[in-house]
Subunit: 343 residues, 2 copies
């Protein structure tokens, strides 16, 4: 392919966030696309996914990985097409899923590629949610830490989110009763109608959330898959059943309330456990999750919602919109057209 004169846009992290994440933290740059050197290949990014965890990735606070350096291309999961290659394992026209970040074109030596994607097995964008980090998180977090048994009650926070919606559906497949906690009536409807929850609660409109959770879980909560922490979780902890497992997967809801009721007594009385889960600890087993999720997806047992915005330049404001909860499904940027489709 002749790359002469082709320009690539990229977005770099320009500043660390204060209390809020704003588009001004990011900066758009443009540079000429380079030809791959020996052992390299060039990827045209098609989809970029935006994660709630990005709030942590850009902050200079203790986290499970080093923060994105200032001035560096913002980190992000992508799927794309190989457009030029001098690498023996990656042929032109192949599709790849990886961590190529917020850029239109990316040179790679393969180290930032997660896996090759078979075209047609599932919609391409699914490799960024159900078959990507969200689905893998839901799969291992629920099964390895939550360890649900058929007949148990599983409560999920941010139940309509890109992780939570899959957790709820896997829990149903495992034979559990599912209760979803979510932040709008629309999302509660999605929980019930699209993601198969037995019960959904809008935590923003409940006057007594703890009572609503207790009423929805008459046998107690056996597994609490917590994507949020904070006041929403405060309403779930008193309803834990004997031997309950709490999967600590996200803590964004703690932002506004770093202090809260202590959980020790609920944990002790119920001999419950509360355990931190990070998908990267299970990343070497991701194929196991992807194969199972692909099969459920093909059988129509896993539904999903996408919120797609066109154009890399929209990524900063779209991230902020998502962090504010104003999204309708998994938030993706369509950086460029899918193969065979026009822009």
């Amino acid at each position: 392919m002749n790359l002469q004169g082709v320009m690539s846009r990229e977005i770099v992290l320009a500043a660390r966030p204060g209390p809020a994440v704003t588009p001004a933290l990011f900066e758009l740059r443009e540079s000429a696309v380079e030809q791959p050197g020996d052992g390299q290949f060039l990827v045209r990014v098609i989809y970029l996914s935006l994660e709630p965890a990005m709030r942590g990735w850009i902050a200079d606070a203790p986290n499970y990985q080093d923060p994105v350096p200032l001035g560096a291309v913002m980190t992000g999961f992508t799927v794309g097409e190989v457009m030029a290659s001098r690498h023996p394992d990656y042929a032109v026209g192949g599709l790849v899923a990886g961590r190529q970040g917020w850029q239109e074109w990316a040179l790679s030596d393969g180290s930032d590629i997660e896996r090759k994607v078979e075209p047609g097995a599932a919609p391409l964008s699914c490799h960024l949610h159900v078959l990507g980090i969200n689905g893998i998180t839901a799969f291992f977090g629920l099964r390895e830490v939550g360890r649900p048994k058929a007949g148990e009650t599983v409560v999920v926070s941010t139940a309509a989110g890109s992780v939570g919606s899959i957790v709820g559906q896997i829990a149903k497949i495992e034979g559990c009763r599912t209760v979803g906690l979510t932040g709008s009536d629309e999302k509660a409807a999605h929980c019930r109608e699209l993601f198969g929850y037995d019960h959904a609660i809008n935590y923003k409109t409940e006057t007594d959330l703890a009572a609503a959770v207790a009423a929805a879980c008459p046998q107690g909560v056996d597994v609490y898959f917590d994507n949020v922490g904070g006041p929403v979780s405060d309403a779930v902890m008193p309803a834990l059943a004997l031997g309950a497992r709490v999967v600590v997967c996200g803590t964004m809801g703690m932002g506004a309330s770093p202090e809260g009721p202590r959980y020790n007594r609920h944990i002790l009385v119920n001999r419950a456990s509360m355990q931190g889960f990070l998908v990267f600890d299970h990343w070497h087993r991701r194929d196991e999750a992807v194969r199972q999720l692909e099969s459920w997806l093909a059988d129509g047992r896993i539904a999903y919602l996408e919120d797609i915005t066109d154009g890399l330049d929209k990524a900063p404001e779209t991230l902020c919109r998502m962090l504010a909860g104003d999204n309708r499904g998994k938030t993706l940027i369509r950086v460029g057209p899918e193969p065979g489709k026009s822009a």
Copy 2:
């Protein structure tokens, strides 16, 4: 034995506690000792142990067991001597450990007996701490939930207490580095000199407890055996190491501060777990713990401190004194003389 005219004193729970436990919650009664019926035997109680958990046993709040009923003899662990028997398994002169409660004489059908005690294997009172519920709690709590590995750092709260002191010593036997948190300079000295802690911190005099814990644990805290909860624990949680295990064994320190900093982020970032531990879940395996502890005790590898008060009538005020932290070791009531000794 002629029991004609022998009177037994017993102490019943007369009222539920308010914010404080006071001697006025208990009432002393006296009645004539009854001869055992068929299948029964009569025990003269020698030692009664007082537990911090008794605060919970008498409260009408959700707990791991039903509260002591009003008007009933107060529950408690005891060792005693069989003085009369019409039960084939219990001979006169035998020693028994059980839950015979706050009374001088107790009729039994065997259901409240934990085990027979071999005289001479260890001091009789040890069956109420190192070889009793405290030692069994330390043994299973540390090994089953804490799962320490040689070379790891184990932090213990109420480190000089009847559970904590044994936890620290077992952790040393397992090859760990131990750091004890305790509430007086005298107890800190006991931690270092008697219980073999590598480091002891008086949390009441430290101006920055979190900094003191972090400094004492340069590699982070691998196991936190938490007997207290509350502000003391708040100083430990930020120092958790990757994969840390927190044993939630006691929560008395939460009383004055039911709210506090949320631990979710420390748990998530370190993929730590926090798990409630109740010794009764492991009670069927208690012989395993007792045999091992007896052997360590015989080898001089487990030290202990006792705080013994004479007379059943002193139990209520002694309990209150212990709950106020004003005790010097495992708190016991000597209800009657040991066999062969005069009162």
